[in-house]
Symmetry: C2
Subunit: 373 residues, 2 copies
């Protein structure tokens, strides 16, 4: 018998009857996608059709209902993207409908695979127990390889655990991928030699079809410590492919670019916790970059805290991962962030350190001290 | 000197000064992503930084402003996904900001490549001049290969130009990809032999990393007439990879699953015209599936018409493509659709034909007659 998994949706509806009708329409849309009266009896109706298993008013300020629908693993057919398609395929085009929870099962957890390293693995590789981790990005695009590598070295000397490419650095003529990644790995390695640190360089491998996987492997051979990619551009299976490849063996960090519309309207898409937390773990990434509260983007403190929850809470056998909030961060915001995130976080700070009057190295040291003192 | 391209955004703002501030923040966010006062002078500031080139109040009912920002081809670095990243990367996470137009240039049109066949190529392959085209989908998931192939044959006998997989058909045990696609191609071929028609089968090749390309090539060898894929799941470069591969040489059709949040909130994401029309052409697909007005989804008639505009209007050297509206369609809606779309459309009708009392073959004939009579 096919195992079942479930998805909980928030849905807009004026009363319970309307809510039930909408939920049953979703159960049909996400699976058989034919008129209800054309559904063949037997296996198709009994197993493959989505099944409304719980419906209750939502306690939140938006009103509406919470509907839990169970689906058969047989609908998924062992394909990870089809799992996502069942969770929120055509129904993603409906207004007043939002994915707010996912519950998997043994078989689907095995299909996902999950993070290879997770929060514990990242800590262990960085030699960082009992403290938050730190990440910065080399930028801006347009600087040459040498200037970017110099910035990487300064961040490393200051005490960053991870120095990553800006997500807009790909293979521009001013700093082509191969040159840049090799130079940054070397510069970070030299800085580690001077400081005794364990900073790693994290290239952005987002690129055209096939090239991302190729670049990830090249970067590993050259000595990168992790890779970053943007699922919203590259597709939702590339992180998982790398995480499951025993010949790869590096952490993967996701970047939210191009996918913003999935969370920012509270009545559509996915909750922040599901999109940045649970989905990232299903994809097999070890850390997730997203915009922090109080910066240039509009995420609230509660939404950011919910992302951290989605990264850390029990989710079957899929390891906890680390949230990496960034975007308009500064040293001054550290106390507030410590109160919200505790130590289970990667502080992603960039621009503020670049314009610090004391220089990047000293500013980075001050950041680390503020978050660990 | 680097060629420049431009993106026009709708943005929410109370007055022109606020609008200018927001637009300049977008120009910075989409390129350098560092504080303005940390931008290096010279090439980085002069070329790589986005440049606000027009700002005017928007005439629409939402108020707000239209801001046109130009970016350098050097920002793109010859990478298609980086082009999308410049158009709407981190800024996709901002509320009150929506991409409403894109203007490319020679170099970027060459980078995109565009549709190999386009509307004219699809018509020519189908032998269909001076009339709309017709497409249906075999479903539901859970039926066996033989039952699905039988439905494919019936649609072909009735006069469909394209018979496609439902987007939820991947490699489920009940109808594995290889068996299903071979059987459907054979069934459609036999139907053509009886009817003298030129129906083609269109498999869904959306699948895990790498597998989509592999399945597309297998399907071509077996005799498929086009392939369908979902960029929202698979990433935004796979259609283009296939379109540019001289060894592939089949039309590509995109499906909107999982990507709905990109258009359904009028103050975020992309306009319908840009997302389903222009972006699809940039991706190199030849037709785009999207939900029609008056069906199960909430797109308005005006939004659907704007998609058809985005498919057909002049857009540099990128060929026009065909819109394929579907979702809750019926024969009764054909007159209204003819008024809206004219003949430059692929009617995507499925469920309504499956439950027609006269059977699929006759119902399909009635559909074709209604739309061409």
């Amino acid at each position: 018998m096919s195992q079942r998994f479930s998805v909980t949706y928030w849905l807009a509806a004026g009363d319970a009857e309307e809510a039930r009708g909408r939920a049953e329409a979703v159960a049909l849309e996400q699976t058989l996608e034919i008129p209800r009266d054309a559904v063949p009896t037997g296996y198709v109706e009994d197993v493959m059709l989505g099944r409304l298993v719980a419906l209750e008013p939502d306690a939140g300020s938006q009103g509406g209902y919470r509907a839990t629908i169970s689906y058969a693993n047989d609908d998924v057919g062992g394909d990870f993207l089809q799992l996502l398609n069942i969770i929120f395929g055509n129904s993603s085009i409906l207004d007043g409908l939002r994915v707010i929870d996912i519950e998997l099962n043994d078989e689907l957890e095995a299909l996902c695979g999950g993070p290879r390293f997770g929060a514990e693995g990242l800590r262990s590789r960085a030699g960082a127990s009992g403290r938050p981790l730190f990440m910065s990005a080399i930028k801006p695009v347009g600087l040459g390889t040498a200037a970017l590598a110099e910035r990487a070295a300064q961040f490393a000397l200051g005490g960053m655990d991870f120095v990553k490419d800006d997500h807009g650095l790909v293979d521009q003529a001013t700093a082509p991928f191969d040159d840049r990644v090799k130079a940054c790995i070397e510069a970070v390695g030299e800085a580690n030699g001077r400081s005794g640190g364990r900073t790693v360089f994290v290239p952005n491998v987002t690129a055209e079809t096939g090239l991302a996987i190729e670049r990830a492997h090249k970067a590993r051979e050259w000595g990168a410590g992790a890779v970053m990619l943007a699922p919203g551009l590259l597709g939702f299976d590339v992180a998982r492919t790398l995480a499951r490849d025993p010949g790869f063996g590096l952490p993967v960090i996701t970047h939210p670019t191009f996918s913003g519309a999935n969370t920012i309207t509270p009545t559509t898409g996915f909750s922040h916790r599901v999109f940045y937390g649970l989905l990232t773990r299903m994809m097999g990434a070890d850390a997730v970059v997203y915009p922090n509260f109080g910066g240039r983007f509009g995420f609230s403190q509660a939404e950011c805290r919910s992302i951290a929850d989605g990264c850390g809470e029990a989710f079957g056998r899929l390891r906890p991962i680390l949230p990496a909030p960034g975007g308009g961060m500064s040293i001054e915001k550290i106390p507030q962030m410590r109160a919200v995130y505790g130590d289970d976080v990667i502080y992603l700070v960039g621009g503020a350190l670049m314009r610090a009057p004391e220089g990047i190295v000293e500013a980075t040291r001050r950041l680390v001290a503020a978050a660990t003192g």
